[in-house]
């Protein structure tokens, strides 16, 4: 952490702003939760109804809401709005304090508004999420590694699967947009900070606030419904379900806040001369991702509010006995769910597109096609949600039109391939871990995309749906394509974010371990899916032994690779080689600022006169 200056905090606490940090937040959150819990226990009337959980559901949800409000107050999220209401808006000094000026390591534990601090905070929390999600994945695979299922109790197993699923989804949603969208993006467009710095801090701390209900859930019955939390199963699930509901609601707010902030920043704050034609492709990727999340996450939020109301207030949105429908939930969930997968994928691919010209020393091939591809995917991806519901019986007559829209997506998806191979072609390959990642993405995403076409075919999906084949498909896309891009981005921007080079040897070793392990794991998983193994099962027929064994072995290889990567992050951050200002000789703006980056990035705001891809020797 050498970029951090370590001056102590200025004179001890005068204003409330200076007193608040993660400790006050945790304390206030815990105290509020406890108080509300006691009060609810005392005063909420008992149930007259037959429902098993209703009163407990109310108590749990109320306590979780209290936690949330307490935590956000304790971290200082309300200071700004409150002061504004009182007519005493924050002074310049106070704003500088909030930005973390001269605060050293402490600023990472407060409501700090500097986008670089938020970026690092996001990076750390993403790594923590992947760490926990990874441990859960290893539990799943170990349980399935032994023939005839395992040693984990089915209730616990289901909960592990659900928790693994949802936190990995959240991890992949934030893995590019969080760390790199916050740290790198504003510098890349030549801005001093985000459009709304306080909203930026808000979006990060909301995720921390959201994490607690999810952990809480594990102690009150877990999330035994899988990440999709279908109703009516979710209505029947133990109290832990409320943790899922709160987690999603808070995370959805975080995503909406971040989305509004990032879109505004990109639209309004690009450097002088950075026309849309000169805006780097990575910026388009981030922009498309949050622009897709903006309509999608309110739907997710709503779907969970309704789920919570069914549990706690005995409404019947999804409860058939009361006139509701599980199909309503499925629709809401996938109206969010399909755009969401592209929220994950697009910025990861765009990051690799940004790196491709740098590591081939030639211009990006067909910038316009790249933009078109990103726009086309974004547009189509809101029209395909029911391909997750072909087999639900909801509307058999709509299967054909949804098959059409789904298969159409392969056209803009193909454009992304064209841009990447086009850029590699006749380039001068500079072999680095990000370069290898471009090839890995092309391989993995090809498999993910082609299997996606099988799945989009209704008759084939009648066999494949709900099987391990689907699980393998989306791991190829989320992990094989998405995470591969995010890891490359980590290595690529590490020098700018930490001031040190990422250890080259470790990045290569982990790359090969992760990629080989990954392909072994999920090719194995395709075979058991084809042989008829359903997903989310804790035990299976002996015909699936071999495939599952292979998959489990592959998973352990991934784990080793990830540990090597973690070691690489820690050791390079602490004692890696000092990075020059522009180690890759790249042409985007973030490489023009010094290490460590000054608080407001640029003394003089830059002016842009060309795109960032002017590599290659001019033709004679």
């Amino acid at each position: 952490m050498t970029t951090l200056m370590s001056k102590p905090v200025s004179a001890p606490g005068k204003s409330i702003i200076e007193r608040l940090n993660i400790v006050t937040a945790l304390v206030l959150g815990a105290v509020s939760a406890f108080v509300v819990w006691r009060l609810a226990l005392q005063f909420l009337p008992g149930d007259t109804e037959v429902r098993l959980f209703t009163r407990e559901d109310k108590i749990t949800l109320l306590s979780m809401i209290a936690w949330f409000v307490g935590f956000m107050t304790g971290i200082g999220a309300l200071v700004g709005p409150f002061r504004w209401l009182m007519g005493k808006d924050l002074s310049h000094d106070e704003n500088m304090f909030l930005a973390g000026k001269d605060m050293g390591i402490n600023r990472y534990f407060r409501y700090t508004t500097d986008h670089k601090v938020v970026g690092i905070q996001y990076l750390i929390i993403t790594m923590v999420i992947f760490g926990i999600g990874g441990i859960l994945a290893m539990l799943i695979r170990t349980n399935l590694g032994t023939p005839e299922g395992g040693w984990i109790h089915p209730q616990a197993y289901n909960s592990i699967v659900g928790t693994h699923g949802i936190i990995m989804i959240v991890g992949t949603i934030i893995m590019v947009t969080g760390p790199f969208g916050n740290f790198i993006m504003p510098i890349m467009i030549g801005a001093r900070d985000m459009a709304f710095p306080r909203l930026n801090a808000l979006s990060f701390w909301l995720i921390v606030a959201a994490a607690v209900p999810l952990i809480w859930a594990q102690f009150i019955g877990g999330i035994s419904t899988g990440w999709s939390a279908y109703n009516p199963l979710a209505g029947q699930a133990p109290l832990g379900m409320n943790g899922y509901i709160m987690f999603i609601c808070i995370f959805a707010i975080s995503t909406m806040v971040a989305g509004a902030n990032i879109t505004t920043t990109i639209v309004r704050m690009r450097a002088k001369g950075m026309t849309w034609n000169r805006t780097p492709i990575f910026i388009y990727g981030i922009m498309a991702s949050v622009a897709l999340a903006l309509p999608a996450f309110p739907v997710f939020f709503l779907s969970q509010v309704m789920s919570g109301m069914d549990r706690a207030l005995d409404t019947s949105f999804y409860n058939t006995a009361g006139g509701g429908s599980g199909w309503l939930y499925e629709n809401l969930f996938w109206i969010m769910g399909h755009p969401e997968v592209y929220v994950i994928l697009i910025p990861a691919v765009a990051a690799l597109m940004e790196m491709a010209p740098v590591f081939t020393r030639r211009p990006l091939f067909s910038f316009n096609v790249a933009v078109m591809g990103i726009a086309g995917i974004s547009g189509l991806s809101v029209l395909v949600w029911a391909h997750h519901m072909y087999i639900s019986g909801w509307a058999p007559l709509l299967n054909a039109p949804f098959m059409l829209t789904t298969e159409l997506i392969s056209i803009p998806t193909g454009m992304l391939f064209l841009v990447l191979v086009g850029t590699l072609w006749r380039g001068r390959l500079w072999m680095t871990m990000p370069t290898l990642s471009i090839f890995a993405l092309l391989w993995n995403f090809m498999i993910g995309g082609v299997t996606g076409i099988y799945l989009s075919d209704v008759p084939a999906d009648a066999f494949l749906h709900g099987s391990m084949y689907v699980t393998a498909h989306f791991h190829y896309t989320l992990m094989g394509a998405g995470l591969t891009g995010a890891l490359a981005a980590l290595v690529y921007w590490f020098p700018k974010m930490t001031g040190r080079m990422f250890d080259k040897k470790l990045s290569w070793i982990s790359f090969w371990l992760v990629q080989i392990g990954f392909n072994v794991t999920f090719l194995g998983m395709f075979t058991v899916g084809l042989a008829g193994q359903p997903r989310r099962v804790e035990s299976y027929a002996s015909t699936f032994n071999t495939g599952n064994m292979i998959t489990t072995i592959g998973a352990y290889v991934i784990m080793v690779g990830m540990l090597v990567l973690l070691h690489g992050v820690i050791s390079s951050w602490r004692s890696g080689e000092k990075a020059p200002m522009n180690p890759w000789q790249a042409k985007t703006l973030e490489w023009t600022v010094a290490n460590p980056i000054p608080l407001e990035n640029f003394d003089v705001l830059p002016t842009v006169t060309s795109d960032a891809y002017g590599y290659g020797k001019a033709q004679s």
Partner: protein, 256 residues
Amino acid sequence: MTDLMNSKKPQWWKSPDVKKTAILWAVCTALVGYVGTEFHVRSIVEPASETMSGVIDLMRIFTWAAAPVAGLVFAMCLTVLTSKRHYGDNPPAEADHQISNSPRANAVWIVVSALLCLFALITGLIVLQKDSEAVLESTAIQMNVTGSQWVWSFDYPNGARSEDLYLPVDKPVVFHITSVDVKHSFWIVQMGIKMDANPGAITEAAVTPNKIGVFDVRCAELCGLLHAYMQTKVHVVSQSDYDKWVTEHAALEGRA
């Protein structure tokens, strides 16, 4: 891709890396097509209905249709990877061109992918149409299927009821599927049909078993604690064995 070369040189296809890629393309296409289909066909279950054979054929066709595209991408990657690579901490010399676009390559790529897309769509629609009509078949056995945590039960037209399914060979059957608690998914693995069992609604699926034998029914939608164990068998038997079996079982239910 091909006219990335300096457009003043007319015979771009004579350049060595284009030739190399062309050869690799042929090899990769064959490999992807062959390995891809074998991978699927060898892993997938033995079909016990036309529907399932259709699924397997679809996979063959789609894999071969995707093979040239995947093959081209892999071939270009291989060409690039086997040409001069630069290791080291400083960037290599700049590439010797500045070509940043090729309208012709873009157009070809987009048109080809649109055609492939159309092809996949039409193939799918034809099969889909056949499957949807099967549900309307009037001579079919009408079977009621009920999912509940965590068993399947089957009601036969004559009032018999069982927890493992008996079907006559070569006779169309239509399933009317529902659930009494949460959502389940009724999957006859080797027959390639699947349909969710929803509480409060009845959904339909149809198939004609074409092989005598014992096959698997599994629940394909997480339905709670014992989801993994919610499975049973389908016994496909001759028409006379079937008639005998349902009569006996209807009697057991006291409804004969």
